[in-house]
């Protein structure tokens, strides 16, 4: 009660202040934000909230940290129940799942194109959150891919930075087997529950599970066939190439612990985790992600990345949108700060001009990593992620044992397509 009175008094003061200074509008209230990953998304949101204090001192931004899967479950359960009381005002959504939410829960999200100038953001990020005429997101971090490797271990095996740059996955496999034989360090870990490598390989060729119209695009898709062949080759190499891991903790532990010498299939957001192994400072480097050995595949792709969405049911909608517009779509300096502090590589284009984006990083042996990522992000081919990526992922994962056993690639693709087709309804 006391805090309510206080808020009211503050609002009253603020209202008086308007008359005195003729400020444009007064906004008061509590904006609740759901996100996952305190150190990355949370820290960036906290920094934004601190900056918004100067613009609108009467608006409180409340941060609620949830595990990603919990956030999605909670959100979906509330949508399905039709009770909007417990929903936040702003929510973080994974780009891969954005269309699924926008199309499954129509009317639950607020279009932002009136309030925010989306031409300031990377076009592929805007496309992810567009349905018809409406754009629903405030695009946040990029999932631009990088090939992180231990330069010291690679040097021991006789490979320099130039040998790792702009290579194909086939070449990567050769190098990996050689490095494992010479140093005992695998260049790759494989999680049998992770389909991201297939998505990354496809997008590097500008292709996807679906056509831009949303039709299944697996049988007869040259890029998909090449991706299956390439991954089969990796699986068949077994422990001459990779270490098996299961789950996130084992995956990150494998390279922060110094056993696995590279992280080839990841997004720029992994930088913080790589850097968390302070004892490995100066021993890492980042190369462009390998490409598929086919016409049209580039050494750039995407993995992950997410954006902020405002919920239509929100009582503090005006405040929430104003907050995003005033800080997230305006403050280039803010993006410099979260890049330096959290390694949050955002897709707000004006921020690229700042000094932080061209600074050298000693952890990566003085490499200007952000500048490199800025180059690669422009090469990412936009694709329509569609709403059934999870179903196709599951269909692919079901065929991993067949790929490892070296079964016929065309049969594998047909099986994947059959399962995906039955799941897409």
């Amino acid at each position: 009660m006391a805090s309510k009175t206080k808020t009211f008094t503050r609002a009253l003061f603020a209202a008086t202040a308007i008359h005195l200074f003729a400020a444009p509008a007064v906004l008061a209230g509590e904006v609740t934000v759901w996100f996952w990953d305190t150190k990355f998304n949370g820290a960036a949101m906290q920094e934004a909230a601190n900056r918004y204090k100067a613009v609108a001192p009467d608006t409180t931004i409340t941060l609620v940290d949830l595990a990603k899967a919990d956030l999605e479950t909670k959100l979906q359960t509330q949508f399905a129940s039709g009770v909007t009381d417990g929903l936040p005002d702003i929510v973080l959504i994974d780009d891969l799942r954005a269309q699924l939410y926008l199309q499954s829960f129509t009317g639950s999200f607020e279009p932002l194109n009136g309030a925010i100038d989306h031409s300031q953001f990377a076009p592929y990020k805007v496309a992810v959150a567009t349905v018809g005429e409406n754009i629903y997101s405030l695009p946040f971090d990029s999932g631009v891919a990088g090939f992180y490797y231990r330069s010291d271990i690679l040097a021991e095996a006789g490979y320099a930075a130039a040998d790792m740059t702009d290579i194909t996955w086939d070449r990567f496999i050769e190098i990996g087997i050689d490095v494992k034989a010479k140093t005992g360090h695998p260049l790759l870990s494989i999680d049998m529950a992770n389909a991201a490598p297939f998505r990354m390989m496809l997008q590097s060729a500008g292709s996807w599970y679906f056509t831009p119209e949303g039709e299944l695009n697996l049988v007869g898709n040259a890029a998909f066939k090449k991706a299956i062949e390439t991954y089969s080759k990796m699986l068949q190499a077994g422990d001459t190439l990779w270490k098996p891991v299961s789950g996130w903790a084992e995956y990150t532990g494998a390279f922060t612990g110094g056993e696995v010498a590279a992280v080839p299939m990841t997004g720029v957001w992994i930088t913080g985790t790589v850097k968390s192994a302070a004892d490995q400072a100066g021993k890492w480097a980042v190369a462009p992600v390998p490409r598929l050995d086919i016409e049209g595949s580039v050494n750039a792709t995407n993995h992950g990345g997410s954006s902020w969405y405002v919920l239509s049911s929100s009582a503090e909608k005006t405040e929430a949108i104003d907050f995003l517009a005033q800080v997230w779509a305006k403050d280039a300096d803010f993006y410099q700060k979260i890049l330096v502090d959290q390694g949050a590589f955002a897709t707000f284009l004006p921020a690229r001009e700042g000094a932080a984006y061209s600074s050298a990083d000693d952890f990566f042996g003085g490499q200007t990593v952000w500048k490199d990522f800025s180059t690669w992000v422009q090469q990412i081919r936009p694709v329509n992620y569609g709403i059934f990526a999870g179903e196709v992922d599951a269909a692919i994962l079901a065929q991993l044992p067949a790929m490892a056993a070296g079964e016929n690639v065309d049969t594998i693709i047909e099986n994947i397509a059959a399962q995906a087709k039955s799941a897409m309804q």
Binding site: A80, L100, S104, T106, A193, E250, L397, S422
Partner: protein, 288 residues
């Protein structure tokens, strides 16, 4: 008049319970039955009639989940019941040293939370987890066993996990039932020279028949609803080898494009299976 009055009293006393039951039990059950007749993306539902039932027959993932669930049922439940019975009979022996300690130790897994023990099992059976390290140290294997990354071994891990968790629980029922068997029967058998294994199979087991049946039905229902372990240890993988019906329902609702109608249909499959299997077990166990 009198009986009518007690009727009113009776009904009004059970009314609160009935109302709660109606709102939180009967209404959701009927509502999900209605939902299972709908198709569509997320909340954009439209009436689809039997469309979801037809989809079941052609869904390879559903058939895989059904197969896995029945496999766990057929393999794990008999192992667990047999183990529980053996433990119970052994612990019922008053001359056994450290009886109370063993009884507590075997029952203890059952008070741990499902998620907690699943997370522990996941880390124990990791590629360089404590199980592989121990096996390698003792020279039982010279390569780490791919517990969580090989479809076959992943099923073994799940079976080990649920057996560890639930054997003690079943054992307690047997122990309680054994207290009700008259000791003089065994004394008589011993005097007649009946060997120990025959005493177990010919005397104990027939006398425990109702409780064995009860435990079989309870375990069947439990296994058909298997979720926490596969969700936390393997996420249904690798290659759907440990995907159960309950986990598939979860995936259909939360992981994939939300198909609430189809997910309800799959949950009714579990209802039908529980009904059929319970009926079957009652039939088989009925005295001739």
């Amino acid at each position: 008049m009198q009986s009518r009055r007690t009727d009113i009293w009776g009904w009004s006393l059970i009314m609160p319970a009935l109302v709660l039951l109606g709102i939180f039990m009967i209404y959701p059950i009927l509502s999900s039955l209605w939902l299972s007749l709908h198709t569509g993306k997320g909340m954009n539902l439209s009436f689809g009639g039997a469309a979801n039932i037809l989809r079941l027959a052609e869904d390879p993932v559903f058939l895989r989940a059904l197969f896995n669930t029945l496999l766990f049922l057929v393999v794990q439940v008999p192992i667990m019941i047999a183990l529980a019975l053996v433990f119970a009979v052994a612990l019922d022996d008053r001359t056994l040293w450290g009886r109370a300690w063993f009884r507590t130790a075997i029952f203890l897994p059952c008070v741990t939370s499902l998620v907690t023990y699943s997370v522990l099992f996941k880390s124990m059976f990791a590629h360089d987890g404590v199980v592989n390290d121990t096996l390698m140290f003792l020279n039982f294997v010279d390569q780490p066993i791919p517990w969580l990354t090989d479809p076959g071994w992943a099923r073994v891990v799940i079976i080990i996990a649920i057996t560890w968790r639930w054997t003690g629980y079943n054992m307690i029922f047997f122990l309680a039932a054994l207290q009700n068997i008259d000791r003089s029967i065994y004394e008589q058998a011993r005097i007649d020279g009946v060997p120990a294994h025959a005493r177990l199979l010919r005397l104990t087991v027939p006398m425990l028949k109702p409780i064995i049946l009860f435990l079989f039905i309870m375990s069947t229902i439990g296994t058909l609803q298997l979720f926490d372990e596969v969700m936390n240890i393997t996420e249904g993988g690798p290659a759907d080898a440990t995907l159960t019906l309950s986990l598939y329902i979860y995936n259909l609702t939360f992981k994939f494009m939300p198909s609430y109608g189809y997910a309800s249909t799959v949950s009714y499959v579990i209802v039908v299976l529980v009904a059929i299997l319970s009926w079957l077990q009652f039939r088989l166990a009925r005295d001739k």
